[in-house]
């Protein structure tokens, strides 16, 4: 890794953690075992933990995942000193209203507990889709305009007759707290974004290593960074959200 640091290093990497159920089948594990194994490897900046589409899965699996999530958040809060030692701030990028109350409260506690950390940021996308994020941003930007929080005067219309501007919508996206990702890595070799960060990834390098999520390792990360460095002179010219 020291050698790779000689070249440009991505500031923001996003992960689609795909392949947990295939890992279970491959290793004859009980239901949920793949999710547990994969979670232990979690250590990156933005992760797509649970899509709104995943609520369509069998109720037992959804409950298992929600319980796993709540337990991991509680562990994180118990080990708060480790999080603070590394200065990691945690965001839950989520339509929090869709989460079960115990998970939502745990997520809110984790965000409050790490609000003063500033060395690194971990964003966990849960109960998230890009299209839902965009709709939410439209609603928030209009409400902000009506009550004057975004403009000099509260108003239902702008001077040019529009109700909201693109810049205001972008400002109210959940992911507006961080720059656009430099790399998206989707494990298990699948080549689609599945409604993840569609708005933010115009000039993001998309990588699709074949390893299932619980099998993903350091070499996959290194390979993605090497490819990022190879494309850097091309990607650098493209506009990104600051």
């Amino acid at each position: 890794m020291h050698v790779l640091c000689t070249g440009p290093i991505p500031a923001h990497i996003a992960f689609i953690m795909d392949g947990n159920r295939r890992y279970e089948k491959k290793h004859n594990m009980e239901a949920g075992g793949g999710h547990t194994a994969g979670f232990l490897a979690l250590m990156y900046v933005t992760v797509y933990a649970f899509s709104i589409d995943n609520f369509k899965r069998p109720a037992a699996e959804v409950n298992l995942l929600m319980n796993l999530m709540r337990d991991k958040i509680e562990d994180l809060l118990r080990e708060e000193s480790v999080i603070s030692q590394y200065g990691i701030r945690i965001y839950f990028i989520s339509n929090l209203k869709l989460l079960e109350e115990s998970v939502r409260l745990a997520a809110e506690r984790a965000m409050r507990a790490t609000a003063n950390n500033s060395n690194a940021t971990l964003l966990i996308c849960v109960a998230y889709t890009s299209t839902n994020e965009i709709i939410h941003a439209v609603e928030k930007s209009y409400k902000g305009q009506l009550d004057g929080t975004c403009c000099e005067e509260a108003s239902s219309e702008m001077g040019d007759g529009s109700m909201v501007r693109l810049a205001e919508v972008e400002r109210h996206l959940y992911m507006s707290v961080v720059p656009d990702p430099d790399i998206i890595i989707r494990s298990s070799g699948e080549s689609r974004l599945s409604n993840f960060l569609l708005w933010q990834t115009a000039n993001t390098l998309l990588c699709a290593p074949l390893a299932l999520w619980p099998e993903m390792g350091f070499k996959d990360l290194c390979w993605a960074i090497i490819n990022f460095q190879r494309s850097y002179s091309y990607l650098e010219k493209k506009p990104k959200q600051a």
Binding site: N54, K56, T131, L198, A202
Partner: protein, 250 residues
């Protein structure tokens, strides 16, 4: 020697060694990619000539809508774009969206449709020809302004409707659904289907701002810069797409 100077010298040497190793890593990776490119080139030729049999039965019906993302500089090579469209037509693809950031393809849409022949423009021409003629192609042209700005326009439409409904006394909470956004986009001319497969002809695998709303479940495949396009590689990408199974989150 002063220990501080000695430490500095070691650090400088260490730095140089690290830089050298970095360059070696990248040279090795570049050689690997060159070799892989050569193998892919041979494979493409074999696929194109029908020597590799697995790709001759493409199930092209699964590719209902295909998108091409092309670098704007390369998009000026209209004859290369047309050749790519001809290959797609010969494989049975009937509906194609051509996208580049700056709208170079959009500016040349009539020329491309005319030179390609037996093609019509999405949103302008009737879909009837598509149904009657096996070789007829429907072309859509898009650019960066059809992405985020289109969503902002659709948002404005939704909000204006909401405001007028509230003014008329129909009190309701401002809760929009994704279907509302779809309908609003369609009503202002951005109702083209989501592509099943998006092929990126450029130096890196990025979608370059293709309309975000239409990319939810699209398979995004990196091909090569346009000047290195190969028919066999196109067939392989389409074949691989037809073997993909999506769960849509379930």
């Amino acid at each position: 020697m002063d220990p501080r100077l000695q430490a500095l010298e070691f650090w400088n040497i260490g730095n140089l060694v690290q830089r050298l190793l970095w360059h070696i890593v990248h040279i090795v990776v570049s050689l690997w990619y060159s070799l892989a490119g050569l193998v892919q080139s041979v494979e493409s030729n074999l696929i194109s000539k029908g020597v590799l049999k697995g790709y001759d039965n493409l199930e092209i019906g699964k590719v209902k809508y295909l998108a091409l993302v092309i670098e704007s500089e390369d998009a000026r090579r209209i004859f290369e774009v047309i050749e790519l469209l001809q290959w797609l037509r010969s494989l049975g693809v009937k509906q194609v969206c051509l996208y580049d950031v700056n709208g170079v393809l959009k500016q040349s849409k009539e020329v491309i449709a005319k030179l390609l022949g037996n093609a019509s423009l999405f949103g302008v021409d009737s879909v009837e020809d598509l149904k009657c003629d096996e070789k007829h192609m429907m072309l859509e042209f898009a650019s960066i302004s059809d992405g985020k700005e289109a969503v902002a326009k659709a948002a404005n439409l939704l909000l204006k409707r909401f405001k007028s409904e509230n003014a008329a006394g129909v009190q309701k909470d401002m809760v929009f659904t994704e279907q509302d956004m779809f309908d609003a986009l369609k009503s202002i001319g951005y109702g083209a289907p989501d592509p099943d497969l998006l092929l990126v002809y450029g130096p890196a695998r990025c979608h370059l701002g293709f309309p975000a709303w239409r990319l939810r479940y699209t398979e995004i495949v990196h091909m090569s810069p346009l000047k290195h396009k190969k028919r066999g590689a196109l067939m392989k990408a389409i074949y691989k797409f037809t073997t993909v199974r999506q769960n849509y989150g379930k």
